[in-house]
């Protein structure tokens, strides 16, 4: 493994656990098994640039998990619930420490480090784009895919935070369940409207003009 890769990886791991400000260059050097000088050789921009590389790397890796976790499940709703349960197990097995570095850094220093905030925004934008493309491929309308991926990412990042604080899987399980119900209702509506609506004119108009807000029509409100 190349030294610069080792450095970025070690940074990602440290960001996960203690954030940006608390992570020092010397600590990073120890963690990566590299001297201080090497860090500045590979990353002229210093700590900030290492963090940027770590964020990009982690971001790309995270979004690849989406198809990996959802493809095995023929219906999306079950897949979503299973994915959140898997995330919960992963968190627990790492002692509730395995946060998403992108979320940590964004929460921590979005105002103080505008450059890193921009990189985090790019990463998140990719999540939204690739995620909604995947969901659209699974039969959701473009508009609904957009809504679901935003809600899913928000629920996931928030569940990380709550689970980490409370050391409990509950936030993941509850978030997974509510999202699964939402997605399940969407799928049921699509199925009821017939597969032509999906394969054919799956425009942003959705299932019908009466539900223009993008709500699943089966889950009516009082």
């Amino acid at each position: 493994m190349r030294t610069d890769e080792r450095i970025a990886l070690a940074m990602a791991e440290l960001l996960r656990r203690q954030g940006y400000a608390a992570t020092g260059i010397n600590q990073l050097a120890r963690a990566a098994g590299a001297p201080t000088g090497s860090i500045y050789h590979h990353f002229k921009g210093g700590k900030r640039e290492v963090a940027a590389a770590a964020l990009r790397q982690t971001g790309a890796a995270y979004i690849q998990l989406l198809p990996l976790l959802l493809d095995p499940h023929p219906d999306l709703a079950t897949g979503v619930e299973a994915a959140f349960a898997a995330a919960a197990r992963d968190m627990e097995s790492t002692g509730w420490a395995n946060m998403c570095p992108v979320g940590v850094v964004t929460a921590e220093i979005a105002d103080v480090e505008p450059e890193l905030r921009e990189i985090a925004a790019e990463v998140m934008q990719v999540w939204v784009e690739e995620g909604s493309r995947y969901l659209a491929g699974r039969g959701l309308s473009e508009q609904e895919a957009h809504t679901v991926i935003h809600a899913l990412l928000a629920a996931l990042e928030g569940a990380f935070v709550l689970a980490r604080g409370m050391r409990s899987a509950e936030p993941f399980l509850a978030a997974g369940r509510t999202l699964a119900v939402y997605v399940g209702a969407l799928e049921a509506a699509e199925a009821a409207a017939g597969p032509a609506a999906t394969a054919g004119a799956a425009g942003p108009a959705g299932p019908g003009p009466a539900t223009g807000t993008g709500r699943p029509p089966t889950a009516g409100r009082a």
Copy 2:
């Protein structure tokens, strides 16, 4: 306003914007308009103790918003969606900076500062307890109230993070919508089962044995 209150308040504000590690005692002193010595006079435990006070204060204030935001809406689903929309507006009006300090600190240094993590956990536990009590008072079963409050808090904290990074209200709006649909389906089911089910034997068994997982029965899955 007392000096110690001013210090804790300034700390909360700094935690919101730049997290714990990046916030220095001198910066805190400047922000609070108090000399360094005063901080250590009022908070013998130093920076950590100030942060602890700030977290407790903010946590208590946050959960009071729940009834304030939801009471005006006769049905819970509309209220939830409106509350998320309000949070989005608030974030935007502060330049996407108005994070929840509890979430920031938890994400940032849960591993490095176990004492603060425990306080964050206490605060979150109170959120869950008071929140689910409120939701149960609004007609949800105890089990569903528990699920909804966890999902709601996760979605909220996550939406803070995503919105802050992307500078977009979308995460709030999407999270609000999915949760509103979930809660709306619950309310519809309760109404269909008759008000006796709420006032009477609203045990953990839920609306029926076939939906023992706590899912709203109207939002069926394919």
